[in-house]
Structures are given as structure tokens and as C-alpha cells.
């Protein structure tokens, strides 16, 4: 057991993956000497060389496209996209190439590419530095999408993602990078555990589903609700695609109420899929429609307004009150 920050856990995890498999190469802008703008790759180029920690030209389509080519050749590239908002130039390569190559080649070509994206807001940055693009990727068949919420998962899940033969979009909640936690670097994770959700707090009254940056907020909300006599079960989704509906449904059947929270906009966000699927799966057990507490459907706002945009403890509790039918419904809704 070591105490590591979230970013140290990722760094250690990359190092372990590179030591284990010489085909693992890192690619991205400024990941070499600088160690990446978030220092996740700090020291790795020094230790593994410029052919394994590859500073790339400034072109995201090029980065993902050449990562695909390297994977074609038997490499296992781990791409860093500098910020969430800069993944879109690579969208075509991700959606039409990375996601579809295994299907296109009838299983002949595997592309074990991991795309690491520091995502989400809360760090006071200008435009394009705080986005939550997970719904785009989750809607794309052929991709797997995961997001760790704590240093231990950061450590374990990243290695699992890299070891996976399918392309994985790995979303790192950047505002949690500095958070410290216990990390067992000897832990041998269950095979398949990468795609399992985790009940991080048991409860009986309502299921609260969060991932990445908001798991901590969800836990805080559950603690606060406890004081008001509401016993919340918190689930860390961990895998956004596939979703571990077994774990989710079991919880919702028990509690009868579910609240989903994410930073991304509401319309067509992951919350929509979770709400729709859980309604399909648990309709007769639901006491209230699934509630979504999300970012607004706006471009990510300037930093002086981001605290309004991001779901926080109060907004989650407000959602809980609605789910518990303690407050009036929103415009257009009914209880």
C-alpha cells in the first residue's frame, strides 16, 4: 500500500504497463520532457526513451491515426489527448477507424489503443479545457469507455485498459488529479473487473449513480442526506460503456429510486441512457422517474460561472428531494 495522488497513480500505472510489455508506447503532445501538461507521463521518456514516449506533432487526427497504424504493426499505443476539447479533430479517426477496424477486418485486425483524456471541469480554465465528451464515444459501437474516480482505480483500470485488446477511451477526471489515496500496487484485479460498477456506499432509499469527477460529490451528498434521514446507495459506474446493468438494476430494484449525475449536458447525455435502460429494466420497482442532475445544455461556460454549471452537493440534494417527492417537480415534469 502506498499513498499516491491520482496523477502519481496514473504515472505508476503507465510505468508498470511499459515495463510489462515492450509494445506499449505512449504518444501525445508534450508528454516527453515536459511530462504532459498534467505531468502524468513525468519521467517516463527519460527512462524509456523517445521511441516509447513519443512527443508528436500538434495534430490529434494524426496522433490517433498513427496510433492505429502502430497498433496494426503490433504496438499497444496509449495516446494522451491534452484536453477533452481537443479530441474532436481526431473524431473521424476514432469513430470511423479505431472503433470499426476490428469489425471491418472481420476480427483480423485488433487495435488495442487506449486514449487517455483528462476530462471535465472545475479547474478554472478557458473554453475547450473542461468538456465531458463521453456520450459521443459511448454511442459509438466498437469503443469501450471507462473513467476511474480514485487513485486505486486510476492505477488498476489504466493497466486493464491498456491490456484490453479493444480500443478504450480512458477518461481521467482532471480536477481530481491532485487527490491522494491508498494504492495497492500489488493488487491483481479480477479479469473483467474493468467493466464492473461498484457500490461505494450502501443504502436503501435511493440509488445515486456517478462516475469520474462526481463520485466524490455523490458521496458527500449521501453523507449530507443521511443527516436528513435519507439513506442513499452510491454507485461508481466506472465503466460507461459497457454499463454494468446487473449491479445498477439490483440496486434500483432495492431502492426504487435513482438519480444520475454527470457534468456533461443533459440532452442525450449518459444519464439519458441510464435512465431509459433502468426504466426498461426496473419499471415495476420504480417509485419515481429516474432523476438527472447534470450540466446545462450550454457550451462550457467561462470559469467565473462554472460553479453554477457543475452539479454540486446542493444540486444533487435538490434532485434527491425531487426523487423522494419532497419538493415540487421541475417545469414540464410530474412526480
Amino acid at each position: 500500500m502506498k499513498t499516491l495522488t491520482f496523477s502519481q497513480a496514473l504515472n505508476t500505472s503507465l510505468r508498470a504497463s511499459m515495463e510489462r510489455d515492450s509494445k506499449v508506447v505512449l504518444m501525445g503532445e508534450d508528454i516527453g520532457k515536459l511530462g504532459g501538461v498534467f505531468r502524468i507521463t513525468d519521467g517516463l521518456q527519460k527512462d524509456f526513451g523517445a521511441h516509447r514516449v513519443i512527443d508528436t506533432p500538434l495534430a490529434e487526427s494524426g496522433i490517433v491515426g498513427t496510433a492505429i497504424g502502430l497498433a496494426f504493426r503490433g504496438y499497444r499505443p496509449v495516446v494522451e489527448i491534452q484536453f477533452d476539447g481537443f479530441v474532436y479533430p481526431a473524431f473521424d479517426q476514432i469513430v470511423s477507424q479505431l472503433a470499426k477496424m476490428h469489425f471491418r477486418s472481420r476480427g483480423n485486425v485488433k487495435l488495442p489503443v487506449t486514449i487517455r483524456i483528462p476530462f471535465g471541469g472545475g479547474i478554472g480554465s478557458p473554453e475547450h479545457h473542461s468538456e465531458s465528451p463521453e456520450a459521443y464515444f459511448a454511442h459509438t459501437a466498437g469503443l469501450r469507455v471507462v473513467s476511474p474516480s480514485n487513485p486505486q482505480d486510476a492505477y488498476t483500470m489504466l493497466q486493464q485498459a491498456i491490456a484490453d485488446d479493444d480500443p478504450v477511451i480512458f477518461l481521467e477526471p482532471k480536477r481530481r488529479y491532485h487527490v491522494r489515496g491508498e494504492v495497492d500496487t500489488d493488487l491483481v484485479p479480477d479479469p473483467g473487473s474493468l467493466y464492473r460498477a461498484q457500490v461505494v456506499r450502501e443504502g436503501t432509499d435511493l440509488t445515486l449513480v456517478a462516475y469520474g469527477p462526481l463520485v466524490k460529490t455523490a458521496m458527500d451528498a449521501a453523507a449530507a442526506a443521511r443527516d436528513e434521514g435519507i439513506d442513499i446507495e452510491v454507485i461508481d459506474l466506472r465503466s460507461i460503456e459497457p454499463v454494468d446493468f446487473g449491479t445498477l438494476s439490483a440496486s434500483v430494484r432495492k431502492t426504487g429510486r435513482v438519480l444520475i449525475t454527470h457534468e456533461a449536458g443533459k440532452f442525450g447525455g449518459i444519464g439519458a441512457e441510464l435512465a431509459a435502460s433502468l426504466t426498461e429494466r426496473c419499471f415495476d420497482h420504480l417509485d419515481h422517474a429516474p432523476v438527472r442532475v447534470t450540466g446545462f445544455d450550454i457550451p462550457y461556460p467561462p470559469s467565473k460561472l462554472e460553479s453554477h454549471h457543475l452539479p454540486d452537493l446542493d444540486r444533487i440534494l435538490d434532485g434527491v428531494d425531487r426523487a423522494m417527492r419532497r419538493t415540487p417537480e421541475l417545469l414540464g415534469e410530474e412526480g
Binding site: 506533432p57 494524426g62 496510433a67 497498433a71 496494426f72 472481420r106 483480423n108 446493468f245
Partner: protein, 373 residues
Amino acid sequence: MSPTFDPSTPEGPDTYLQVIAPDGTRNRCEEIDEWVKDIDVPALEKLYIDMACIRRLDSEGTALQRQGELGLWAPLLGQEAAQIGSGRALENDDFIFPSYREHGVAYCRGVNPHDLLRMWRGAAPSGWNPYEVNMANQQIVIGAQTLHAAGYAMGLKFDGSSAAAITYFGDGATSQGDVSEAMVFAASYQAPLVFFCQNNHWAISEPVARQTTGHIADRAAGFGLATWRVDGNDVLAVMAATRAALAHVRTGSGPAFIEAVTYRMGAHTTADDPTRYRDALELEEWAAKDPLDRIAAHLDTLGADLEELKKRSGAAADELAAGLREAITTMPDPSVDDLFAHVYSHPHPGLEEQRENYATYLAGFAAEAQGTK
């Protein structure tokens, strides 16, 4: 400081490298002559037969589409020299990243008839196993494959391999950001990659002048690539330039670029009607530069037995055509299982559910049909 090139200037030995002129005479072409000095009459005859075979492959493709056996076909008519000249310059372990029109290159790779037609029939998303023939599957998204090639070539370099990568694309593709980025990456890492642009003058209905005001090869030079601009209807010039470019990239001196100036004599695809946008005169002009005719004329000057050659090439083409027809009649239709197979390399619970639910649904129909529902 501005370029003075007019894309409509007539092409000839002044504007590109040419070894065999359209009338069959042999030019001296210092820049590349040495690369084909081993090509004697039998070798030339072989190239001729290759070109005759892929011309037949192409006309069979079009015919099969007309007969409803294929959903679509992208003709290569007119581009035989570009594809055979380059395809035959490659070593077996060189890896190819093609676009969708390189049936001739696939033929050089020994791709079998089933695999050549599978995608065009709509029976599968692709044809062959890339690793069996060292050639990626067809790429439909214009330019996307050039980045894969750049990455693959980076891998070759990291591995210390002596193999090279080559990527095929069209004149239209040169406008895509991906193609420029591929040149940036390949140059930045000095990767052993040959960019092979078949400038067939058209991107569907758009003439090459819409994509560039200068020669495509000059653009590549600006990215720091070694470049060759060749008569793409001259199989020897294409082969020579491709060999030169491959030799260049194998030395580790960085990527190379070949612009093969050719012409798409047919429609863009069987879904296209080129009479809407281009001139019959232009076609005539290019018909006079036919890649096969000029090699035949050249062989004639060397005293080869043309009649015998045409017999041999006809027989080879017939055999190929028979193989294609046989492939179509014996190709199994895909099954419902193929819908869900290979989306992921290991099971995905959501997709498993969809697969099982759909199987149950279909079984319901079957049961209903049997009156057991």
C-alpha cells in the same frame, strides 16, 4: 513568389518522368532509368499480362455489378500501369494501405477472387485478412489510411525492420487534412513510407484543379518528402520511381512521394455518370496514352511476338475472370451471427443481450412459420 503552374498544361516528358512514350518509343530518363535496367522482354511481357489481367478483372467487376451480383464497383480502367508498376515494385513484407480502387495492387498481392469481391458484393465489410497479404482492407474514408500507413511505418522504424510501407490515394484525397498530417508525421519521424498518389485527374466530378493550383508532387516536397512525378500510364516509369522511392525510404532518409499522373477512363463507380461532368475529347486524348497499348508498341519495337503475347494474356485474363465468376456463385451469404461478431474482440454484455434478444425474436418467427407459436 507565386506559382505559375497551370493545371491544364498538357502533360508530357517536360512535366513528368517518362520511360516509354505513348507511341512505344523508349526515352532516356536519367533520374530513374537505372531502376528498371533489369526489365528485359520477358519481364516486360509479364507486366503487360498483369495489366491485361487487371483490366479484365475490372471489366468483370463492372459486368458483375450490372448483373446485380455486386452492389458497387470502382473501376480502375486506365490506371493499370500505376497499379501494376507500383504493385510489382514492392517486396512481400512491405505493407500496403490502399484506398478502394486498388484492385490491381491487391491482385499483385495474390488476393483471391472471393476476397476481392466480398466487400463489393455487400457480403462483408471487407475482403481479405490484411496479415495474410500484407495489405490493409479497402479504405473508403478519403485519406484516412495514409495516417495508418504513417504509424505502421513508424513501427517499422522502431523495429529496425528493412520493410517499407506504401499508401495509395487519389488526387482528391490530397485536400484532406489527414493526408497532410500523414506527411507531417512521416517526415517528423523519418518513417519508411511511400505516398503513392494516383492523380487520375478527377475526384468524382471535380477536376484536379479544384484541389490544387500546382503539381501535387510539389506540395509533398514542401513537407520535406523526396518526390517523383511520373507518367502514371507508363508502367516502367512507375515501377522505376516506386523502386527508387522504396530504396530511398529504406535507407532511413525519410518518406517519399510519388505522383503518378494518369486518368480514370471509366466512371467513378458504377453509380456514377461521368457524361454529366466531363468531355469526350478529354477521354480521347487519354485513350491515346493507354498503358497497355504503349507497352505492346514498345515490345513490338523490341521484336516480341505480340500475337502470342496477346494469346497468353487473354488466357490468363480468362482464367482470372472464370475465378471471379466462380467466386460469386459460391460465395455464401453472411449470416445473422456476422452482424454481432467482431464488433469487439471479447464479449460485451450489452451487445450480447441484443444478439440474444434478436435470436429469440427470429426464433419466434420461425416457430410461427411452423405453426408452433
